[in-house]
């Protein structure tokens, strides 16, 4: 994936964070857009870009929402690498598999951030909260839906629809 596209992905993730964050309905869609951006790059199979995208997206996320810069950057860089391994080494596809992988990745992100915060900022370790599970589920569902939409044969569908109308 081109660098410009990666930058666009991260920018889109930031815009979506703000778009959802300002809304009073934010609790219903707590999707981790930065993780989705990282996973999208990891899906391309390029380890270096996945790691760097994870680090960049995480840094931006940290600057906006965390007491220390580097917590999410660390987590998302590691997750970018892990997701690329899964993408390259495992026969991997389908909305369910992508959704499940993103659910696990989101929970792993939460655990890494919690452990780092506990080690470096002496924060209490809070990992498996209801919020975390709901965020992981929402991220998994959003990722699965995007995967389905990406693989859907839109052109065939549109042509079939047109033919049906002509008849």
């Amino acid at each position: 994936m081109k660098v410009s596209r990666i930058a666009l992905l991260i920018a889109a993730a930031a815009v979506l964070e703000f778009l959802v964050g300002r809304s009073p309905y934010r609790a219903f869609v707590p999707v981790d857009w930065f993780l989705l951006a990282t996973a999208t790059v990891a899906r391309g199979g390029d380890f270096v870009r996945a790691v760097l995208t994870g680090a960049a997206a995480g840094t931006l996320e940290d600057a906006l929402s965390q007491p220390l810069i580097g917590l999410n950057a660390f987590a998302k860089a590691a997750i970018g690498y892990a997701l690329t391994i899964v993408s390259v080494r495992v026969v991997f596809g389908g909305a369910l598999a992508v959704g499940a992988a993103l659910f696990v990745a989101s929970m792993a992100n939460e655990a890494i951030v919690a452990l780092l915060a506990a080690l470096l900022a002496q924060s209490p370790v809070v990992i498996f909260t209801r919020d975390a599970v709901w965020r992981a589920a929402a991220t998994g569902i959003a990722g699965g839906a995007l995967e389905s939409a990406w693989n859907f044969p839109w052109r065939d569908w549109w042509q079939r629809r047109r033919l049906r109308r002509l008849r």
Binding site: V20, G21, P30, F47, V51, A63, S65, L68, V88, T129
Partner: protein, 294 residues
């Protein structure tokens, strides 16, 4: 999404190079984190302040679009329940009018009492209302991004509240955007007092969306439903702002009770907050805020 040529695919899927980059990035992250953990003040890091300042225009623009979309959605949903709402509001209005007559009569009688009570408590100075741009709840950390910064007079340590109760305090200030720590944060704490008994304690976030009141002796008569308000002893939060109500009391360690507090402010539906004037202690010493954060 997939690389097009076979050559590119082989080069791209080279995990060794990726591993080297990963280790470098992770080490860099740890170094940056370690530097911040030691040197960070109540004002947050300079990098954080810069990124917040740079993101301010985007946040404001996207925030207004999102707000508009939410309003439109809210209006559409409201149409469905407009008739019932109208009836209910009429009934409420009648009740309020009766209440107003009663209160006017009582106002004259209680004026002197209220004057004395008011003189005893430092009323928080409300500087203005600010929008919430982003809410983050991750690994026990509960923070919000607010649409006001140093250009609007926000300083580190400025308390935030809603009419229902205390919300948190500003920790990092950018030019047009600031980051605030909510009371629910696992690292947040505030000096508190039980309004009925006057006992002092410390309210801490548990990281799961509730508050715990600590340092209340087992001899206390605190009961479910008691109002907990800020005590004004931490040098950050003003005195007398509601924090929550006691939801459960249990015997914890030998000396102190374990008191769970249900927050007064509805944290899940925050859209705007009131910015309060920072306390004199917070203004004088920027490090004052740290005592309540850790």
């Amino acid at each position: 999404m997939r690389p097009r040529s076979a050559h590119v695919e082989i080069a791209a899927a080279n995990p060794r190079r990726g591993g080297v980059v990963l280790i470098t990035v992770l080490i860099a992250c740890v170094l940056i984190l370690s530097a911040q953990a030691r040197a960070r003040g109540a004002r947050g890091t300079v990098l954080q302040s810069w990124i917040l300042s740079l993101s301010a225009p985007v946040a404001a623009a996207v925030g207004s679009v999102s707000h508009g979309a939410s309003d439109a959605l809210g209006s559409t949903l409201a149409l469905f329940s407009a008739r019932e709402e109208n009836e209910r509001l009429r009934r409420e209005l009648d009740a309020r009018e009766r209440e107003l007559f009663r209160l006017r009569a009582e106002a004259l009688e209680g004026a002197e009492d209220r004057r004395l009570l008011g003189a005893g408590s430092a009323l928080p100075g409300v500087l203005g209302s600010v929008p919430i741009l982003l809410v983050e709840r991750r690994a026990g950390s509960h923070s919000v991004l607010i649409g006001a910064g140093s250009a609007d007079g926000v300083v580190p340590g400025s308390p935030l509240a809603v009419p229902a109760g205390l919300v948190g305090r500003v920790v990092t200030v950018g030019r047009g955007v600031s980051r605030a720590q909510l009371l629910l944060d696992a690292s947040a704490a505030a000096g508190a007092r039980i309004a009925r008994t006057g006992e002092l304690g410390v309210v801490r976030g548990d990281g799961h969306g509730a508050l715990m009141l600590n340092n209340i002796a087992t001899t206390s008569s605190v009961a479910r439903g008691d109002l907990i308000e800020s005590a004004g002893i931490d040098g950050i939060y003003p005195r007398g702002v509601p924090i929550g109500r006691v939801a459960a009391v249990s015997r914890g360690s030998k000396l102190f009770l374990e008191i769970r507090v249900a927050p007064s402010a509805e944290f899940s539906r925050l859209t705007d907050v009131l910015l309060l004037a920072p306390s004199a202690a917070a203004k004088e010493s920027p490090e004052a805020g740290r005592s309540s954060a850790r």
